[in-house]
Symmetry: C2
Subunit: 283 residues, 2 copies
């Protein structure tokens, strides 16, 4: 892959903007064309020189070698079949945080092979072109789903691209991905949103929160700043897996509640000892 590609990035926010910076940095693109239905974002993305030019969706597809979707997963699900209709030999990659609904929506599409379903495990709680950062994605995992359904050249180029921007590759079935993602990403967002609402609901003294808030609090609640336009569709598309995890999480919280109600310090310690086993997994 010595040749640089003409790459269209649909969605010039946090993910699309950061990817554009990396593609440029690593010399993977001859031109990057941005597509964004939000005019303010489009303007900002150009201003920040995240991309070379802006175009409308179908013009961008027509002139690009690679089209990358970095937009909310409900929009991806809506437009993916009709986008594939317009694809000739281009590679179409999506970066959505859910995968089953997307691959299912085009599983029988005659152009299915041109599509690669990917989920780079990187993000921040910020959004929009201003949230784009240099060096994003590096040393993070990217999951390619149902790679066997993609054409070899398409999946090879995609893997190589992710490798060059510093990611390590994992292969997974889309349904396995969605189950795991519910555990290692989606539930964390729900607990953060709910924790923010808990504190905002009950703690009337903003100043006290602001002044006392520890690094620990910030760490557990920062995802509550995440963009609803991105997260509502993720949770809705992966609702069944997430409901399983959420039910389990509520029952785990009830154990802590019961310990406190019954002043059962011994069981409380046991629960914390159990939780400490996360050290085995997270360094």
């Amino acid at each position: 892959m010595s040749d640089r590609k003409k790459i269209a990035i649909v969605g010039t926010g946090l993910i699309g903007g950061s990817l554009a910076l990396q593609l440029n940095e690593k010399g993977l693109a001859s031109t990057i064309i941005g597509v964004d239905s939000n005019e303010a974002h489009a303007k900002k993305a150009l201003e920040l020189e995240l991309l070379d030019e802006m175009a409308d969706l179908y013009s961008a597809i027509a002139v690009s070698d690679v089209v990358i979707l970095a937009i909310p997963v409900d929009t991806i699900a809506q437009i993916l079949p009709s986008l594939l209709d317009k694809i000739d030999q281009q590679i179409l990659i999506d970066l959505g945080s859910t995968k089953s609904a997307l691959v299912n929506s085009v599983s029988l599409h005659p152009k299915r092979g041109r599509y690669v379903a990917a989920h780079p495990m990187w993000g921040t709680e910020y959004s929009g072109p201003e949230a784009a950062v240099k060096g994003a994605f590096e040393n993070k995992a990217v999951i390619i789903c149902n790679a066997g359904d993609s054409d070899t050249d398409a999946v090879d180029w995609t893997r190589n691209m992710f490798r060059k921007i510093g990611m390590h590759l994992l292969d997974m079935r889309a349904d396995d991905h969605d189950l795991h993602a519910a555990y290692v990403s989606h539930i964390s967002h729900i607990t953060s949103f709910a924790l923010a609402n808990t504190v905002l609901e009950k703690e009337r003294e903003d100043q006290a929160i602001f002044e006392m808030a520890s690094a620990g609090f910030e760490s557990t609640v920062r995802l509550a700043k995440s963009n609803p336009a991105m997260w509502v569709p993720i949770l809705m598309q992966n609702r069944e897996n997430i409901l399983d995890v959420l039910n389990e999480h509520i029952s785990q919280l009830r154990k802590f509640k019961s310990c406190l109600e019954k002043e059962n310090a011994e069981y409380l310690k046991e629960l914390m000892d159990d939780a400490n086993r996360i050290r085995r997994i997270l360094k």
Copy 2:
């Protein structure tokens, strides 16, 4: 306060060890005497040169100008009255994460004035002398509780000491402190512990967690590595406030659950918009 003090630090782990480093760094101590009932910790603290020498508790008190307690809050509650019995003109400071039970345990003690109840809002999820870090506490808040019950010289020295290690001072009633701490620190630990247990309980594929775990997941779950010997007593001593917050948190989580069950994207968005208001408080 140009004169350096002979300072005893009881508990040479994360908090005591880190404070010792700062006291030395800022030239506040002529000698730092460590006290630790855990022999391995005592040995390690000396090895790491966190302190100058080790002594037993009452010998250390006898020869020190200032005694600082950096031990679990249940032990502080147990020994505080008898420690004050041994205090002459020394200043006795505790750094515990709960404050009501502690100040109440000595409110009528004839030496109450020598005691300053403080809570520096700094910590990490690690513990023991090896967890001590340089530059700890800087730019964080420290709360002095019921300062009016402490002698002026004692509380002045304490404030000055915290200021010199880079902290900003807040004054609060102990019961207000415990209420706010339930929101901005204690509940975060419970949600992290419970989230770790949720994932460890249901997600059988450690390797998947390990490889996929995003920064977001790490951020929400890292406090689950915290030391039960420190956290069981905190939660037990502040159980009534924490139970209030925990009940609210579970009911907030149930709202997310209900949205997913009923596929109510509109209400889900509303919940996230509400949570986004945390931006107002956390930069």
